[in-house]
């Protein structure tokens, strides 16, 4: 698996967007991938044995030559996977519609309608449709090619609105749940690990309602075993949820030809995409680079957790884990005399640690 960035432009401003470090601070000289570079990306997929062309951005469908890129990928027998916000230009949408459902998956990321007006630059289209209405229209047109995704970036999330959306639009009867993880900079909105257990309980409640509506729940990366009680995990499995505890190198290929571990870890640096590199080698390189941090996890207890030790759970999102690490400059003067006698180590009377700042401060 590898994701190809074809656009640095987006027509939304989701507060949790994990491209914050990569696209905002990159000083990019281009906003869209040119066709020649796209061919090189396809070559990379071929030599890596990857039969999916997974396209993302920004908003990938804003690429001016989107239909052309799709045609090129299809020419290589790639299955198309597009990660989109659903606000797709007409030509791009028509192109996706023309693809057989077996060769095309469109993951439409949908946020709660009540929060959208605060998020997005233009909440209504010229036709007067709200963003949510436009997304529903897109999903309806794509039908079974489309699947909805929902990112949890607040503990008071309410995903129930997705169920009537799925029923009404005829898209795939599944919801891909994602946890909003931090970029290394921490500048995007994300959920904190200590909120995971409460979030886990809400997910189980939602999964029950989804099952009643014959909708399956799938997990994206970064979920952890301990956020679900044993009984809740049994429930999820019994409801057919695609449960998993995953964090590994995604391989996001940027516009500049640098391959990064994943967007949240873009500040870790990338590896160049050359005519010789393939996905397995890149994955091994990133795993080697990040292995020292994998001893830890998102919680203090991860390093002694039996689930982690046995390989069941990797300890949560690596970006969240790495944010726990910090550098603390210290410098200590080692007062050891030549004759080995240390300085006096008696028990001096300590002054109060912090004195009040008053104008009547006593003279020392």
């Amino acid at each position: 698996m590898a994701n190809l960035t074809i656009s640095a432009v987006c027509n939304q401003r989701c507060p949790y967007c994990f491209t914050a470090d990569h696209l905002n601070g990159a000083g990019l000289s281009q906003h869209f991938l040119d066709s020649g570079d796209f061919e090189a990306r396809l070559d990379f997929l071929d030599r890596s044995g990857i039969d999916q062309a997974r396209l993302l951005g920004g908003e990938p469908t804003l690429h001016p030559q989107f239909p052309g890129l799709i045609e090129r990928a299809r020419g290589r027998n790639k299955t198309i996977v597009v990660f989109t916000n659903g606000l797709i230009p007409a030509a791009s949408l028509a192109c996706l519609e023309s693809l057989p459902a077996t060769a095309c998956s469109v993951l439409v990321n949908v946020n709660e309608p009540v929060r959208m007006s605060r998020m997005y630059p233009s909440a209504t289209s010229e036709a007067g449709e709200t963003t949510f209405e436009r997304q529903c229209a897109t999903i309806r047109r794509l039908g079974e090619r489309a699947m909805v995704g929902f990112n949890i970036y607040r503990p008071d999330f309410q995903p129930e609105f997705l169920l009537p959306l799925i029923a009404e639009t005829g898209c795939r009867p599944a919801v891909r749940l994602g946890l909003a993880h931090p970029c290394l900079s921490g500048e995007n909105r994300y959920v904190y690990p200590h909120q995971y257990v409460a979030i886990g309980r809400k997910i189980v409640r939602f999964a029950r309602r989804a099952a009643d509506a014959h909708v399956r729940v799938e997990f994206d990366c970064g979920f952890v075993r301990c956020m679900f009680a044993d009984g809740d995990l049994e429930t999820l499995t019994g409801l057919g949820a695609d449960v998993g505890w995953r964090c590994n190198p995604i391989l996001d290929v940027g516009l500049d030809g640098q391959v990064i571990h994943c967007y949240p870890l873009s500040r870790l640096g990338g590896l160049p995409l050359t005519p010789q590199t393939d996905a397995p080698a890149l994955r091994r390189a990133f795993e080697s680079r990040t292995r020292p941090y994998r001893q830890a996890g998102i919680f203090r207890e991860c390093s002694t957790c039996p689930f982690k030790a046995s390989g069941v759970c990797p300890g949560g999102c690596l970006a969240a884990t790495m944010r726990r690490f910090r550098h603390t400059p210290f410098a200590v003067v080692c007062d050891s005399r030549r004759d080995g006698r240390p300085a006096s180590a008696g028990s001096p009377r300590l002054k109060p640690g912090v004195r009040p700042e008053t104008s009547q401060e006593a003279a020392p």
Partner: protein, 109 residues
């Protein structure tokens, strides 16, 4: 001694590329440049913690003697030995400074 007859003291500084995290029961340190990693437990974790909070040498000796029920001399030897070992492991770097009679402190970083 230095040329003026004063004492010369080693200064141990945290290697600039070291990042660390306190976990349950241990401290994990990683060199961001080399990828080398260390797990510090017991007295090592205590000393690392006291250093990163900003304690000066003599206070660390005192606290070690209280925590591990050691005579002060032994605590100082243990601390010195640990710092030398960390230097060999590149967890810390060392420089030297002449004693100008400054009071016990952590020097500026």
């Amino acid at each position: 001694m230095n040329g003026r007859g004063g004492w010369v003291h080693p200064i141990y500084r945290c290697t600039p590329s070291i990042v660390w995290v306190r976990d349950a029961g241990q401290t994990l340190a990683v060199d961001e440049e080399t990828g080398q990693a260390w797990t510090l437990c017991g007295v090592e974790a205590v000393v690392w913690d006291l250093l990163t909070v900003g304690y000066a040498y003599r206070r660390i000796v005192l606290l070690l003697s209280l925590i591990f029920s050691l005579p002060a001399a032994e605590a100082a030897q243990a601390l010195d030995s640990l710092l030398r070992r960390w230097r060999e492991m590149d967890l810390v770097q060392v420089s030297e400074e002449a004693d100008d009679g400054k009071p016990d402190h952590q020097c500026s970083v």
